[in-house]
């Protein structure tokens, strides 16, 4: 039962690669956006906030289709990227990473935003009186104090990315070795006769990864509290 076949390994490793890349690329954007939403007032802020949460409430297949329209080979952005920079998303693992990044983005941003909001602004003010320019206030006070939240967001985003299915399969299909992640492999296996045991193995692996991520997020959240209390 616990002999993992090469095809399954391929799917597991691909899932990990897709989720790691998606999380790493999305994090800087997530921090910037979380900071904007937590610390700045500007026109269209609630609109932006809604847009960030959109992938959470839209049917994943809709998000995937919109990605296909935008980032597909003939898509507005996808066509330009392919012609000018040689970056292709359609039916590639990079497309899977993009889909996972977009789908997990709301989960990544939220803990970061909350932890930035929890940073005492009076500390940022104190840093300013000590001669720190705004970006240095962010780098030396805001970000370090929000770091546990950033890590928690990354863990949650990673967990979401590794399990993403609907948007990925719509956008980049289900190609073994290129875009077949754990989720789409399970989907294929349960449609195949005799695929049950293999599917069960991947299901167990998914559960372990998801629970591990949640525990990690919880640990980071506890550290955040301890850190903010100066222990």
């Amino acid at each position: 039962m616990f002999e993992i076949s090469p095809t399954e390994w391929t799917a597991i490793l691909l899932s990990l690669r897709v989720a790691v890349i998606a999380t790493l690329v999305a994090t800087p954007f997530g921090i910037a956006l979380a900071w904007l939403l937590a610390r700045r007032d500007f026109w269209g802020k609630s609109l932006l906030d809604a847009a960030v949460h959109l992938p959470l409430v839209l049917p994943p297949v809709v998000t995937g289709y919109l990605l296909l329209l935008t980032f597909g080979k003939r898509g507005l952005v996808g066509g330009w990227l392919a012609d000018h920079l040689g970056i292709v998303f359609a039916f590639r693992w990079t497309g899977a990473a993009l889909a996972c990044g977009v789908m997990s983005f709301p989960l990544l941003v939220r803990p970061i935003r909350l932890s930035i909001e929890a940073v005492d602004r009076r500390l940022e003010q104190a840093a300013e009186t000590l001669g720190a320019a705004p970006w240095r206030v962010f780098a030396t006070v805001t970000l370090p104090l929000a770091l546990p939240g950033v890590l928690a967001g990354m863990v949650l985003g990673f967990a979401k990315a590794i399990g993403e299915f609907g948007a990925t399969i719509t956008f980049v299909s289900n190609i073994p070795g290129e875009t077949q992640t754990i989720s789409s492999a399970i989907y294929s296996l349960i449609q195949t006769p005799d695929g049950d045991t293999a599917a069960a193995r991947l299901v167990i692996i998914s559960v372990v990864l998801a629970v591990g991520a949640l525990i990690a997020a919880e640990v980071f959240a506890r550290r955040a509290t301890a850190r903010l209390h100066g222990q």
Binding site: R122, A126, T129, L130, Q231
Partner: protein, 223 residues
């Protein structure tokens, strides 16, 4: 030297203050709600005046007519808040060193030692702010502000959050600071006794207006 001539509307509250102080310690005295903190925050650049000028040590840091507003971080001031506001993620040594790093100043071990000795905080250097008593925190906050080499030190009720015995513990340090550190100070307090010990000049505030200005003897005329 500090020259202030500003007005600022804060909701219902109108602040209008004008004074020039050459003293080593300018005491801003008044009841709570008299505008002391708004005034010191304006000097710090944390609040932008509606109209007027502020000159610190010969540099115009605010001049609304000329559109000048030097941001707080470029004013080269030190600010000691009522709640020390030490950085909880840094130890005491790093807290003390923060202003020097942000201002790009070279290390000055002699100055560091002088300040640490003056405030008696040598034993605390490796601790975290969370492990310090209120009085210790306030002494570290004083040291942190001093070590950024400010040209003006602002203190907003630095003893306000401490009980009587702690106040008596800190006051001598403040007197030493006045006599030895050589940095002019603006000291906000609602406690006349405290200011009598520390201040060399008094700006008395009432409902956002300066009602008296002069030596410490203006305190005896009552509010």
């Amino acid at each position: 030297m500090l020259r202030v001539d500003i007005t600022k509307q804060l909701g219902e509250f109108a602040l209008a203050a004008a004074f020039t102080s050459e003293g080593r310690v300018t005491g801003l005295f008044g009841a709570s709600g008299s505008g002391k903190t708004s005034l010191i925050n304006t000097i710090a650049g944390l609040v932008r005046p509606d109209r007027g000028t502020i000159v610190i040590d010969g540099e115009t840091v605010d001049d609304t007519a000329a559109g000048v507003h030097v941001p707080t971080w470029r004013r080269r001031i030190g600010y000691v808040f009522q709640d020390a506001r030490l950085f909880p993620h840094l130890d005491i040594r790093q807290n003390l060193d923060y202003g020097r790093r942000m201002n790009g100043l070279t290390e000055d071990p002699a100055q560091h030692k002088r300040v640490v000795d003056l405030l008696d905080i040598g034993a605390l250097l490796d601790r975290r702010p969370g492990k310090l008593s209120g009085g210790e925190r306030q002494r570290v906050a004083l040291g942190r502000a001093l070590l950024s080499k400010p040209r003006l030190l602002l203190l907003d009720e630095p003893l306000g959050a401490l009980d009587e015995s702690r106040k008596l513990e800190i006051l001598p340090y403040l007197v030493r600071l006045r006599d030895e550190a050589g940095v002019p100070m603006v000291y906000v307090s609602h406690d006349a006794a405290e200011l009598r010990q520390l201040a060399t000049q008094i700006v008395m505030l009432r409902r956002g207006q300066v009602t008296a200005f002069g030596g410490v003897k203006v305190l005896t005329r009552g509010t």
